[in-house]
Symmetry: C2
Subunit: 324 residues, 2 copies
C-alpha cells in the first residue's frame, strides 16, 4: 500500500462544513461571519505520551481528544483538524483501528479531517485543530481576578493512577484499573462545558500537565495567586481510598499527588466571580459535566494549598515538563 | 532548560496580525471579511526528509518553506503557522539556529508563529500553516482543461542533484554542488507567483515529490491528460550538462530523471489557457520568477513524454512515495 492509497483508504472522507478537504495542496475553511478561528496543536510521541502496545483505536481517540480539550478551554466550537502521521510502516490493521477511533470522536463533535501529511518515521501523531468562537468571547488564561472562585470539571488523577498501576507502583482492583485506564486512554474533552462557560468563566485552561501546574499558568497570565482547599480537591479522585485500601498501596499522599499533579486529565480548570455561582452550575447542568469549587483567586501571586481549617498543607507537587 | 523556558526563549514573539499568539490553550485568528482560510500541514522526519547533521538554520527555513509552498500553490497569502517539535534533548545552540532560520523566512512572508507544541522524542518537525485567499479564488488541482498549457516555475532537479551528489552517486564541481545544495536545503517557496496567478492559472500544485507525479495529481483531479516536451523540460535543470561533463557522472538520463522525478523542488506546476499566455508572463514578471511552458493538457488521461519532434520518449520516472 503506497502513501496515496493509505490516505485515500483511511483518511479521506467527504467534508460537509469545509469548503475543501483532503486532496489538494491546502484545505479551505470559510469561518462564519463574526467568528474568530481558535487553533491548537498537539504532538504525541510513542514511549512519551503512550505505550508502544496501546490499542490503536484508543490512540486515535486520544490524539484528537487532547486537541479538542484545548478548544474546550477556549470555549470554541470544533470545526476541523489536520493530521500529520509518521509511521514506521503502513500496518493496515493498525491504521484501520486508529482511524476508527479518530473518526468516532471527530464525528461526535462534528469536527472534520481536512488535510495532513503521512510519512515514514518513528511513530508520531501531530494534530492541529480548528474551532470557531464569536469575536471577543474566547476564554483566556489571563482573565482571573482576585475574589474569583476556582473550579475544576469532572474528576482528577484517574489517568495518573492508571499509569502508576500499569507501571506497578500502585496496586488496583481489576475493575478500578479498567475505569482509570479508560480515563488515561480515552479522555473526554469538555467541549460542551467550555461552550457553556462562555460569558461566565473569567479564565480557563485544560488540565493536561497536572492541576497545580496548569492552574499556575492561569495565575501567571492573570498576575495573581490562589488558595486551594486540598480537603475538597482530594475528592476529585473518585472512589479512591476506600475501594483500594485493601490493596495497601494507595496512600492519601498518592491520592493527593494524583489529583494535584497527575496530568493527562483533560478536565477544565476555570475561574468565575462569586456572583456567577448559579450560572456556573447552570452551565455544568447544561453540559452534563460536574464541576467542583476548590478554591479562590487572591493575592499575592503563587499557589497556596490549605486544609479544611485553612492551615497550610506542605508538599511540592511538580507538574509535567518534557525537558525538566 | 525546561519546556516552558524553551518555548519562551526560542518560540515566543509578539504577534501583529493574530488576535492571540503563543501562550494560551489556543491561538486566535480573525480572517478578513470575504476571505477563506487555506490550511496546509507538513511533517519532516530526521533521516527521511533531512540528514541528521543538517545545519539547523537551513532546517528551520526548510520546515516552513515546504508549507509556504503549499499556500503558494493555492494562491494564498501567508498569515500564521503553528510549530510542533519533538526533540531528543533541549540543545540550545541547535534551537537558536533553528529558530533563526525559521523566523528569517517567516518574517520575509509576514507569517507569524501563533502556537504549537514541544515534546521529547525522535527529531520531528510538524508545521501547520494558515493563509488567506478571497472566496472562490483559490488555485485548485482540479481546474485543468483540455487545451490549457502546462508551466513550471524556476528550475527543477537541483535538489535531487544535490542529494545524489551528497550520496556520492553523482560527482559535481564544488561551486555547482553548493548551488544545488542551497536548493535542497533552503528552497524558495513561490508565494509571490502563486498570488500573481490568481484568476489566471486554471490549476496549480507545488512540485514536492517530482514533476511527473505531482502533475499527475492535477491530471487525476481534473480528469484529463497531458503531453510534456522533454526537450524543453530538460533545460529546467540549469547549467547542468556542460559544467559537469568533465566529472563524467552526470548523464543526460540522470539530468532528465532529476527534472522529471527529482522531488524537493518546491516550484509551482500550473496550467493556463493559451489566451492567458501574456497574463502568465506578466504574473511571472510581477513575481520576479521565471516560468517555462513545457506541454499541453489533452485527452486521453495519462502523461505522455515527447521529444522535440513529438515522438514518444520511453522511460518510467517514478515520483517519491513514503511507503512504496
Amino acid at each position: 500500500m503506497g502513501e496515496f492509497d493509505l490516505i485515500a483508504r483511511y483518511f479521506t472522507r467527504p467534508t460537509t462544513r469545509a469548503v475543501l478537504g483532503v486532496g489538494d495542496d491546502c484545505a479551505l475553511l470559510q469561518p462564519a461571519a463574526g467568528m474568530q478561528m481558535a487553533i491548537s496543536c498537539d504532538m504525541l510521541v510513542e514511549g512519551r505520551h503512550f505505550f508502544a502496545d496501546v490499542d490503536p483505536f484508543t490512540l486515535g481517540h486520544k490524539a484528537l481528544a487532547v486537541n479538542l480539550s484545548d478548544l474546550a478551554a477556549c470555549g470554541a466550537q470544533p470545526v476541523a483538524f489536520t493530521l500529520a502521521l509518521a509511521l514506521p510502516r503502513a500496518d493496515e490493521a493498525w491504521l484501520a483501528a486508529f482511524s476508527r477511533g479518530l473518526f468516532a470522536l471527530a464525528d461526535a463533535h462534528g469536527c472534520e479531517l481536512v488535510g495532513g501529511d503521512t510519512t515514514q518515521g518513528p511513530l508520531n501523531i501531530c494534530i492541529t485543530v480548528f474551532g470557531e468562537v464569536p469575536r471577543g468571547q474566547a476564554l483566556l488564561r489571563s482573565g482571573a481576578r482576585d475574589g474569583d472562585e476556582v473550579y475544576v470539571s469532572g474528576t482528577l488523577g484517574e489517568a495518573r493512577l492508571a499509569l502508576e498501576a500499569l507501571r506497578g507502583s500502585v496496586a488496583l482492583p481489576h475493575g478500578r484499573l479498567a475505569a482509570a485506564r479508560m480515563r488515561l486512554e480515552q479522555p473526554t474533552p469538555r467541549v460542551a462545558l467550555g461552550l457553556a462557560l462562555r460569558g461566565i468563566a473569567t479564565a480557563a485552561i485544560d488540565v493536561s500537565d497536572g492541576l497545580l501546574g496548569d492552574l499556575g499558568h492561569i495565575l501567571e497570565a492573570s498576575g495573581t495567586g490562589a488558595r486551594i482547599d486540598t480537603s475538597v480537591a482530594i475528592n476529585l479522585l473518585a472512589d479512591g481510598a476506600d475501594t483500594t485500601r485493601a490493596e495497601g498501596h494507595f496512600s492519601h499522599e498518592t491520592r493527593l499527588r494524583c489529583v494535584l499533579a497527575g496530568g493527562d486529565d483533560y478536565e477544565l480548570a476555570f475561574t468565575a466571580p462569586v456572583s456567577a455561582r448559579a450560572a456556573v452550575q447552570a452551565a455544568a447542568l447544561q453540559a452534563q459535566t460536574a464541576v467542583t469549587r476548590i478554591g479562590v483567586i487572591e493575592h499575592p501571586p503563587g499557589l497556596r494549598l490549605v486544609d479544611a481549617s485553612g492551615h497550610a498543607v506542605p508538599g511540592r507537587y511538580a507538574s509535567f515538563d518534557h525537558f525538566a
